[in-house]
């Protein structure tokens, strides 16, 4: 009895009508009870041939199972977990310089652009500065520094989404013998993606150039020296 208190076990202080008023149940909308759906037919009358079989027979619509398991198996519990969008750390805002801690570009300092729908962070080197292309990166493998690049008014093109970074489906597994032994041809980086990189980086580079030494900073790799402890460093 949440809105009530007990005078004695199982005896509430407020009466039923008093409780009704206190809980504001008069505000509750009363839905008319839904008309019961017409009960599904469980049997079907079918006509059958044959002289001695009678003219029709009443048969069940769904037959009883022919097999029952010997032991009663327990049904698995319902999963009530709901997937929620990944929370972005409050220290990470568009323009923040991040330090990548893992992956191909570990140690590199990159500029954060936006969070994608899948929860990953969209970052760029910029490419000209440190060789990091526009890329997705996981928040957990990143240190957010307090340095921010002023990206006010930068509209990241909507084409940069999770689908843009999807790997092309792997083609023919069973290649020919000749193809197997052929020296791998240099994979050409698609020209349209290179153009995308250029247009995206243009605005970022302009903003980076405003702060002295910032381009050098982004080009440098992060490392710890003797006496530096990450839990004591201020980033």
């Amino acid at each position: 009895m949440a809105r009530n208190s007990e005078v004695s076990p199982h005896i509430g202080k407020l009466s039923k009508s008093q409780l009704f008023a206190k809980k504001g149940l008069y505000k509750r909308k009363h839905a008319a009870p839904a008309a019961a759906p017409a009960p599904a037919a469980t049997t079907v009358t079918k006509t059958i041939g044959g002289k001695a079989n009678g003219t029709s027979r009443v048969l069940p619509v769904t037959r009883a199972p022919a097999f029952y398991p010997s032991d009663d198996v327990r049904a698995p519990k319902l999963n009530r977990k709901t997937l929620k969008p990944t929370k972005l750390r409050s220290t990470i805002t568009p323009g923040t310089v991040l330090i990548l801690l893992a992956g191909r570009f570990r140690g590199k300092r990159v500029v954060f652009l936006k969070q994608l729908e899948g929860g990953l962070l969209l970052v760029t080197g910029p490419f000209k500065v440190n060789g990091v292309p526009v890329r997705r990166v996981n928040q957990t493998y990143v240190i957010a520094t307090s340095t921010k690049v002023d990206l006010a008014g930068l509209e990241v093109d909507a084409k940069f989404n999770d689908a843009y970074f999807a790997k092309p489906a792997a083609n023919n597994r069973a290649g020919t013998e000749a193809a197997f032994f052929k020296d791998g041809e240099k994979k050409v980086f698609p020209a349209d993606k290179a153009a995308d990189q250029k247009t995206l980086d243009k605005a970022v580079l302009a903003a980076v150039a405003k702060t002295p030494n910032l381009a050098k900073y982004l080009g440098a790799t992060f490392g710890l020296t003797n006496g530096q402890y990450p839990h004591l460093l201020k980033f």
Binding site: I99, N213, K216, Y217, A220, K234
Partner: protein, 143 residues
């Protein structure tokens, strides 16, 4: 209790009324205060009206004695009196000028540098090193 006159005494700073102390821990850590009264062998009554330290009993182990003393301060003086004497003695200005206080400030600054600031410091150190090495090499050559 005035400082003993003994010449063999290895102690230079004494716990006495008027001794300016630096608080080492707690919410007032890093602030200056004055010993107003000695309570017992463990605690003293301290007060720092100009530095934002409320009048309270404080354990000696949580204090560090500074070389400054407010000689004009009487035992168990009230907060307004302490304030007057503190201001007149100009201890705060002397403290800020001291190497001790400046070293503390420098360490605080160093500990609070951001990653970018550390990078800029590294660039400046390299510049300075270059200038020094060039001058040194030149001097060596001409010597």
């Amino acid at each position: 209790m005035s400082a003993p006159q003994s010449s063999e005494s290895t102690f230079k700073r004494y716990v006495e009324v008027g001794r300016v102390v630096l608080i080492s821990d707690g919410p007032c850590a890093g602030k200056l205060a004055t010993i107003v009264e000695i309570i017992d062998h463990n605690r003293a009554l301290i007060d720092g009206p100009l530095t934002g330290v409320p009048r309270q009993s404080f354990a000696y182990r949580r204090l560090v004695l500074t070389p400054f003393v407010l000689t004009k301060l009487t035992r168990a003086a009230s907060t307004p009196i302490v304030k007057k004497v503190f201001e007149a003695s100009d201890v705060l200005a002397k403290w800020e000028k001291s190497a001790w206080a400046q070293r503390r400030a420098a360490m605080e600054k160093r500990r609070s540098t951001s990653d970018f600031e550390r990078f800029e410091i590294m660039l400046l150190k390299k510049q300075r090193r270059r200038v020094v090495q060039l001058a040194g090499a030149k001097a060596k050559k001409s010597a």
